[in-house]
Amino acid sequence: MRPFVRLGSTVGVLALVIAAAACTKKEETPEGGATALTAAQVKVALVPGGAHPYFQPWKDAGGKAKTDFAFGDVTFNETAGWDQTKQNDVLTSLAAQGYNAFGIFGVAPESINSTFENLKKQGFHVGSLASCPAGDKNLADFCLSTDVQEAAYKAAKAAVDAMGGQGNLVHLTGNKVDSNTQRRIAGVQKAVDETGGKVKLLDTITDIDKDLQTAQKAVADLLAAKGSQVNAIVTTAYNPAVAAAGGVKQAKLPIKVIAIDDDPTIIAGIKAGEVAATVLQNPVGQAYVGSYALVKLSEGCTMATPGVIIDSGSFVVTTANVATYDNDRAAKTTSLKSDFDSKYLTCAK
């Protein structure tokens, strides 16, 4: 029996080697997507990295974009579950169902370019929304996102101001092994460095944006251990912001909290003077203008600079402008759309 097995496997291996040696790779077919579609043929998929309150405005913004720009369909799919492999699976599933333009928040900024490349090879248009790929290359048609380092810098500056220019600062943020978190840490560090040593970064607590309970526990631990030494907390992720606002209020400590985004508890905290400031992003603008740009690209427009990175805006909100902040955000969205028409898109007609 054994000699036959040996002979069989040798012949098999030889056959494989000969077949492999005779093979040549097929010529790459040129990238698809050259065929222009009508607006009615465009089906936009807005795909966040997973379920998170930040992305909820994308649903309404996508729906409004569909009505305003009269394109075929829009869907919102958050089943990726913060796993890049699952997100890739969700994206190909959506493509198989006829969705042909994608606004994506990549789960893994360090490898999302491969996902963009795969989709573009199939002839689809892709916008990187709310987060840009790590590194200096963006293989999506465009990236429309908060400049996270700049937003963290603004937040930390607001914290330094709120604490009177000196004291101890703590930074609460999200997943450490995420390049966006690294950018946020760099933004906060920059603001701290600018104080020339007057402000000390006491701690940077990462990996607490998974859910509200995790964040609340981390804030409670922080306040119990170092509450009396902390002068201000800057948060650059959603759940830690809500937890810090609530935790500091409950502990009745004189700590200035700089939050992120506009959860109702945070806005109420600003109105009541319990939260010093919050840095808002523009998720509505990202989904609305992103969908618009994807439709225009599908209709035959091209990007003047492929892969251009566009800041969707970040806004510091304090008691002074808490009543009017949404006007600024709406104005930014309008100006982003005009910028696409005038600067970023090149259309034949």
């Binding site: 005779a22 958050e78 089943t79 492999t85 599933s93 893994a108 370019n113 490349e117 790590a134």
Partner: protein, 349 residues
Amino acid sequence: MKQEDTTTPEQPRPPARLPLWANPRIGLVVLLIALIALFTTLRPAFLNTQLTLVPMQADISVYAVVGLSQLAVLSLGHMNMAVGRMAAMSAFASGLLHDRLDAPLILALAGGLAMGALLGALAGLIISRTGVNSFVVTLALDFALIGLVSLLYASFTDGVAFNGLPAGMSSLRTDTFADYCAGDVCGPEIPLLAPIALVAVLVVGLLFRWSRTGREVLMAGSNAKAAELSGIPVRLRTIQAHALSGLLAGLAGFLLSANNGAFSAGVGDGFLLPSFLAPVLGGTLLVGGAVSVLGTVLGTAITQVIYKGLNLLQFQVDELKLYIGLVLLAALSLDRLRHVLAERRGVPA
């Protein structure tokens, strides 16, 4: 002189022949075919080659190896809770070799496999020397490695991933055998990752079926005391099984890095659940002593088909989890029912 026994000794009754329905693998194949038929009927896009079948084969390749990694220690009745982090460390080793020493694809792979095998052997050594439960040891190792992976990426890269991939790794991600032709004859639409996983499946299958080491591992898993008394070096076999588990975790990390397009800290994050699901669904016992390599592959395929099918049906995140849970519970219950029926009829299932 001993007198020869002239009476014919009573032959042991041959075991009842396994009927087709009692073969667990047949059951899994039937279930797989039924699921494919169901999802194809509901969504014809399920048979789309480029968008569904090719990505699904790539996912099956990765997760089958993940399942085999867990199967290697389930053979002993042990668990490897660090399967994901061993994959992450292996991916780091591969990335570092390529980034710093410009190692080609094969050397990067070898380095990753060596790292995985070493970590597995370390876990096996601790378990066999201290007698502490494998669950506790590998869970502790997982925690330690989470921290180490973050620290290493922070020290050796700008962010959380290596920028480059060895030449040829992009082809592993994007190409199928249909892209390679000898004259007019091109290969099938099977991704290049698949044969790598197939080699792992064959090697592990042959190891447990034919090799002395593999059989001894299974005997140690079935009854460690009896195995030891029979002269089997149980400690050595424990270390070897864990080293194999680490090596396969390393291979899975390499395949996922190729599939996702980066050696990153996030590799292996989602490995733990599928690592148990596939072998257990495939008929591997949690208590040790029996493994099913083919069952593991079928278990992986069933899980991925369910994921893909539910994704195509656009289930939202909570529904997706609910239905995957229900389908798997139903599959496991049917398998249990089949076992009970087989036992009643005196057939070993």
